[in-house]
Symmetry: C2
Subunit: 190 residues, 2 copies
Amino acid sequence: MPAPERTSTEQVVTEARRILEQRGADGLTMQAVASAVGVRAPSLYKRVAGRDDLLRLALEATALEVGDRVDRALAGAPADARGALGAVADATREYAAEAPVAFGLLFGPLPDAARPRTEVLASASAAVLALGRRLAGPDHELAAARTITAWMTGFIGMQHAGAFRLSGDVEEAWRFGVEALGAALEARRC
Amino acid sequence: MPAPERTSTEQVVTEARRILEQRGADGLTMQAVASAVGVRAPSLYKRVAGRDDLLRLALEATALEVGDRVDRALAGAPADARGALGAVADATREYAAEAPVAFGLLFGPLPDAARPRTEVLASASAAVLALGRRLAGPDHELAAARTITAWMTGFIGMQHAGAFRLSGDVEEAWRFGVEALGAALEARRC
DNA sequence: ACCTGAACACCGTTCAAGT
DNA sequence: ACCTGAACACCGTTCAAGT
């Protein structure tokens, strides 16, 4: 005797991401998600293996969206490599401002079951890898891409953690970093 | 009628940090800490306001220890600014390897009550501020310090999140970043 | 003054029973 | 085939009662 589906994995993940941003990581409970999609908590286990699995799906969706945003920003970016770096960095930072909780969790300490799979992270950062090659040349493409990603995610994390609250111009520090990194990576090209 | 103290705030925080690293953030429960220090969970509320408050104390202790390590590394570092940057970066990364969970949480999304106070983060990063001045000069000291901290914490976070798992030499990427940043920041001095 | 057991509201998760 | 209520083990937190 079939029973009608009252929700879908997609809707479950969408609501999970909304709740994550609105109520924080602690607010992401199975009951909150269930009530948002109109079922009871046990029904969610037909769609996901558990809370950590649901968190992983939410974070992977976030990672893929970051990748999309970066791709789109690159399409409309200046032709020079340093201009492209600025476009990638700004697009990433803008996205992070829209989904700060998920973005912050992406590179933080997580239970294994909640950790985004490496392939998903890799596919989401393919554009940054190409940017590393444009800036620093093929010999240093991976190291350059990692330097860029590390700086961006670190800066954004510090900003949302309030580490910049006391003083100084955050925008200026961001532009300073973009320009310093762009110059440094180009100088390493061989 | 006084009752003897069976534990202390210091011991509670020490055990909380140990449990945090051994069992992860989810493993840090009031009951686990209470049993480690030899009392029942409700007794912990004589020492801390709640779980988030205890987490904050643990993270602040971690931040101060990072600062100590960096200070000591600087004392034995080469006299040139770029050598000092390498010493600071390596000391930070070594400490993060010893306490990856706490270090990763430090700049991640946290409930307000668990977030380390800005003054504590600032005092722990005073040495990096001085390093920023040595590298980039007084006009850019804050922006340079933020660039350094952002890159270090981002890199370390990515490493522990497993973002580097697939390929490439992580050590090479780290040294590449240190050298690129050192050169870039020195070039901005005026 | 600190510690405790008992209690409360809430979790994640399992599972037999419904349709 | 999916959904549900009931149940279980576990949380954080409060508080009256013990010493």
